[in-house]
């Protein structure tokens, strides 16, 4: 049997699956983009082409507010979560048999283990007592709650990256009289970057999607995009939310293209 050259980037079938996966991921997104141009107010019945939902969504002050709030919380919470998760991942991998590692591991993954509603009710009771005692009702509660449940989403990809990453380079750096910080900054961190990026992205979208915990923790005037939408389910979701989603999508695509063009030279 003649053997063709093997190439890691060309395993037969893999590319097909990947293309199908991307297609499947974007199919529902295409649907919602199409329906954002619906002239009717439905997300299920097509009544003709129109741009009308864009000005409607844009001029809806509440929609603008909740979208901005969601993005703010997601950004701050995911950065906090990723930072502490990176530290924890560095602390809990590639170290021999330290006592308490299992405990730390379970603690970090704990937010995954109970349905959101349970954490939500517990936080409602706990934070309400703090709110009453201190009088502070700001966004801090939502950000802390989000940062907490985002930690495992950031931690696991970073840990997956770190595990088995060999320490030779770091030890070499240390032997060359690099301070631990220098070794981390110039050796470990760059190697770890893909894991951190993956973790940050997961944490960000997880925060952006959260409904139940936010619903219970929010104070007056702290609706986020998901809680705003959840509360509409009983009535009916109008094409307005499709327009908002499409605008957000457009924003990310612009950011992505910009990033892509800016990094072209260095590649």
């Amino acid at each position: 049997m003649a053997r063709r050259d093997f190439s890691a980037s060309r395993i037969p079938g893999f590319a097909t699956v990947a293309v199908l996966v991307f297609a499947a991921l974007y199919l529902p997104i295409m649907m919602l983009v199409i329906y954002s141009f619906n002239s009717g107010d439905s997300i299920a019945i097509w009544e003709g082409f129109s741009f009308k939902w864009y000005p409607v969504a844009w001029n809806n002050e509440q929609v603008r507010e909740v979208t901005f709030r969601s993005l703010t919380i997601a950004t701050v919470a995911s950065v906090i979560a990723t930072t502490v998760a990176t530290m924890a991942a560095l602390g809990t991998t590639r170290r021999r048999g330290t006592k308490g590692q299992t405990f730390i591991y379970v603690m970090i993954n704990q937010p995954l283990m109970v349905p959101e509603i349970v954490t939500a009710v517990a936080l409602l009771i706990f934070f309400a007592s703090i709110k009453v005692a201190t009088g502070y009702q700001g966004l801090g509660y939502l950000i802390t709650a989000h940062a907490a449940f985002c930690i495992p989403f950031a931690y696991l990809p970073i840990r997956a990256r770190l595990e088995g990453m060999d320490r030779t380079l770091e030890i070499a750096a240390a032997d060359l009289y690099a301070t631990p910080w220098q070794a981390f900054r110039h050796v470990t961190l760059p190697l770890l970057m893909p894991g951190i990026a993956a973790g940050l992205m997961l944490a960000f979208v997880t925060s952006l999607d959260d409904v139940v915990i936010t619903l219970f923790v929010k104070s007056a005037g702290q609706d986020t995009l998901p809680t705003y939408m959840l509360a509409q389910i009983r009535r009916s979701v109008s094409a307005e939310v499709n327009a908002i989603s499409t605008l957000l999508l457009l924003l990310t695509v612009i950011l992505l293209t910009a990033f892509f063009l800016l990094t072209r030279k260095r590649d």
């Binding site: 009717g40 439905s42 997300i43 299920a44 019945i45 809806n60 509440q62 009710v121 409602l124 009771i125 934070f127 309400a128 007592s129 703090i130 709110k131 009453v132 009702q137 619903l215 219970f216 929010k218 104070s219 007056a220 005037g221 702290q222 609706d223 809680t227 705003y228 959840l230 509360a231 509409q232 389910i233 009983r234 009535r235 009916s236 979701v237």
Partner: protein
Amino acid sequence: MKTTLAAMALLLGGTAIASAEGELQLFNWGDYTSPEMIEKFEAETGIKVTITDYDSNDTAMAKIEAGGHGFDLVVPSNSWVPIYIEKGLVQEFDLSKLPNHANIAPEWLESPYDPGRKYSVPWQWGSTGIAVNKTAYDGDINTSSIFMDPPEELVGKVNVTPEMNDVMSLALWYVGGEPCTEDTEVLKKARDALMAAKPKWLSMDYGMTEKMAANDVMASVYWNGAIFRARLKNEDIVYGYPKEGYPLWMDQVMLLSDAQNVDEAHQFLNFIMEPENAAMISSFARYANGIAGSDPFMPEDMMTAPEIVVAEELKGSGSFLPTCSPKAQEYYTAIWTELQK
């Protein structure tokens, strides 16, 4: 008169202590508050209104009871009104600040759950009935048998709204009982009938304005205003009032005990009892309001809609659901849990 009122309110607002100047925190069902009405209120009074949404009476109660929420006004359904009062979560109105209180229609003023309306101002009211797509089934729709014993044509196409009180009451009426009964024989009958009907249902879900209009669901236990909006998109949809009995409900605005902006809240309450403003609320969410004299301001299509205007012969079957005793409540939840498994 309005200017005098505004001036008076301003004066009162000025003397209030420890409240943020000119703001109001409204905690309401999602997509239930007319933005135009809020704009008008803000323009007239200079008070900034912030609306925060909830999706169920249970969530609202849990949050209010926990405290530290920062809300001034909440809009619970009728069966929750006595619970709020009993738990001391709401305060009595200062009627001297509510001259429009006299506008509350007489039939709503003497409500069984808040006699004299000292704690609650009507927001909107409606019924829970049965919507049917007449291309799928053409028979009598003014009966609960549509979902309790679906006709051949509707088997596997019926949705039942996941609202315990509404569904339990409909089922109890259907088997000849009354809501909140503690009679185990009747309850057993209702449970058995529900359990027997469940395999013939498609779903227990919300969002029926869309799904009925899009022909995904051919019949559903649902709220009249939502079905009214579905019918505007799909004229095959008709709304029935079960003759065995059907629930009426009302959501009303209540003033929280720990409200920070009590004066602003009174101004708002007075504002929404103005017939013109009450009509604005109705034309947004498509439910009737409880304010006398709002009819001339209502949209034309609502004044004739069979979903809003109940036929004379079916009026008698509708009634407000009482607040059940803890014992009856326990039976309800046990049956409901069994049903949802």
